[in-house]
């Protein structure tokens, strides 16, 4: 179990590392495009389309990692005034909602990806990128979110029982 969690964490770190590389890549390619276009009269058609897709990649590669780091913003104005037991209880509820959202996105994300792959659909733009290659990051990221939300639920359940005195910390 511990090993499983460790490798899970490692995957998230790798995804996050990739997102960082992508960020640098975006900066360099857009900058290069301006230079090539302005001074060498050689605009690169691919830059716009590729960097757009990269934004989606950054979002879903980083999402589960951000959840682990507690970085997804929430409105905690009321939450901060509640008893720890209630907070833990609401934490369970919100994690279950998260599980529902991420499993839905995973299932339908994969089904849309496979459908596009099967039909061989590409974007109706100059680059003609396969749509499945773009969309696939949504279910992958959502699957990681799903696991992370399960972990989060477990954490809050333990917290809830500790606060109710049914479990020793």
């Amino acid at each position: 179990m511990k090993k499983l969690l460790e490798s899970f964490d490692r995957i998230m770190n790798i995804m996050m590392f990739l997102a960082g590389i992508i960020l640098i890549f975006i900066m360099l390619s857009v900058g290069l495009e301006v230079v090539l276009r302005t001074f060498f009269n050689r605009p690169q058609i691919w830059v716009t389309e590729i960097t757009e897709v990269m934004l989606l990649y950054i979002t879903f590669l980083g999402s589960a990692w951000l959840l682990r780091e507690g970085g997804h913003v929430k409105v905690d104005i009321i939450l901060n005034h509640l008893k720890p037991k209630t907070i833990a209880f609401l934490g369970i509820i919100s994690s279950i909602i998260g599980i529902f959202v991420s499993i839905t996105l995973t299932i339908f994300g994969f089904s849309v990806t496979l459908d596009y792959l099967h039909r061989g659909i590409y974007t109706p733009t100059a680059m003609e990128i396969p749509v499945s290659a773009i969309i696939v990051v949504i279910p992958i990221g959502s699957l990681m979110l799903f696991f992370q939300f399960i972990r989060r639920t477990g954490k809050f359940i333990v917290g809830f029982f500790i606060e109710s005195g049914k479990l020793k910390p």
Binding site: I45, R119, P124, A126
Partner: protein, 300 residues
């Protein structure tokens, strides 16, 4: 009780190019009162243009007003619409282009009903050009519709989003663009782009009225015939309407000093042919088997 159909267009509802869609929708709603009620909910803000064909197939909406270029990945042969050199009435002859395209659309779960816009395409540039040679190296704004043609002319297509085009033109990021007649003047695109190459190409617009196939099949034969009748009568009226608008637009072009450019006869033909060749070559790559049929049916 009439069946309510949600409809979306790729342009905003109040866009001048959408004027005749209102006419078509009203006619269908009035004349098929008991069977059909089309509820045109909006444009790209409801469902993005590129996704409207998928939404139609999934029956999220039942009618769309969409250009074929937006869903060409589903069936590349639909790009042949722009290449048609026939009138819409000629296309509708039995066994003709219309029937062929209805069959092709059925394969992707869509019923092709008719066309809602007439407006030829032109290229415009910000400096006088005398020969085709002068076009080489000019940076042109594209959103991926004409880049094959532009490349064939030796022009350099630059991807600029619709909303950034005005700025891009004004600042010389691009030196020209391709578009239909109506629109660019209203958006201020002509302020710095006063030369129009007066050789219309892709005169047959590719924006179609499309319905979900199952929904269409679910309609009574009588209602189907009625909708088709309305559309067949609508198309020439629509064309006449836009021809009049375009004529007025050209008057305004003269008023604001837009210069028309043509080349020698030989070069004019070369230019015009390049527009079509560029697309045919692409179709030959994607649907080689269909190209001979398509050429025959489109009068090429």
């Amino acid at each position: 009780k009439p069946k309510t159909m949600k409809a979306v267009s790729f342009l905003p509802k109040d866009h001048p190019l959408c004027k005749m869609i209102h006419v078509w929708v009203d006619r269908v709603n009035n004349q098929c009162k008991d069977a059909v009620k089309i509820d045109w909910v909006g444009g790209g803000e409801v469902i993005p243009g590129f996704d409207q064909a998928e939404a139609l197939r999934n029956n999220t909406v039942q009618v769309i007003f969409n250009p074929t270029a937006y869903y060409a990945p589903l069936a590349p042969e639909v790009n042949a619409f722009t290449l048609s050199k026939l009138s819409m009435a000629e296309e509708r002859k039995p066994g003709g282009f219309y029937d062929f395209m209805v069959e092709r659309h059925k394969k992707i779960g869509i019923m092709y009903i008719g066309t809602w816009l007439y407006d030829p395409f032109y290229l415009r540039v910000n400096k006088p050009v005398k020969t085709l040679e002068d076009l080489k190296g000019i940076k042109m704004r594209t959103s991926a519709l004409y880049d094959r043609f532009m490349k064939k002319l030796g022009m350099i297509p630059v991807t600029v989003k619709f909303g950034e085009t005005f700025t891009a033109l004004e600042r010389g990021l691009v030196q020209g663009f391709g578009f239909a007649t109506l629109g660019p003047r209203d958006w201020g695109w002509l302020k710095n782009c006063k030369y129009i190459i007066d050789i219309p190409f892709y005169t047959r617009q590719n924006v179609l009225i499309l319905m979900n196939l199952d929904v269409w099949n679910g309609l009574d034969k009588k209602v189907q015939d009625k909708i088709m009748g309305i559309t067949i009568k609508f198309e020439p009226e629509m064309e006449a309407f836009f021809k009049k608008q375009i004529k007025e637009e050209w008057k305004k072009y003269d008023e604001i000093g837009i210069k028309r450019i043509t080349f020698t006869d030989a070069e004019n033909k070369k230019y015009y042919d390049a527009a079509y060749e560029a697309e045919w070559e692409d179709l030959s790559k994607k649907v080689p088997d269909l190209v001979p049929t398509l050429k025959k049916l489109t009068g090429n």
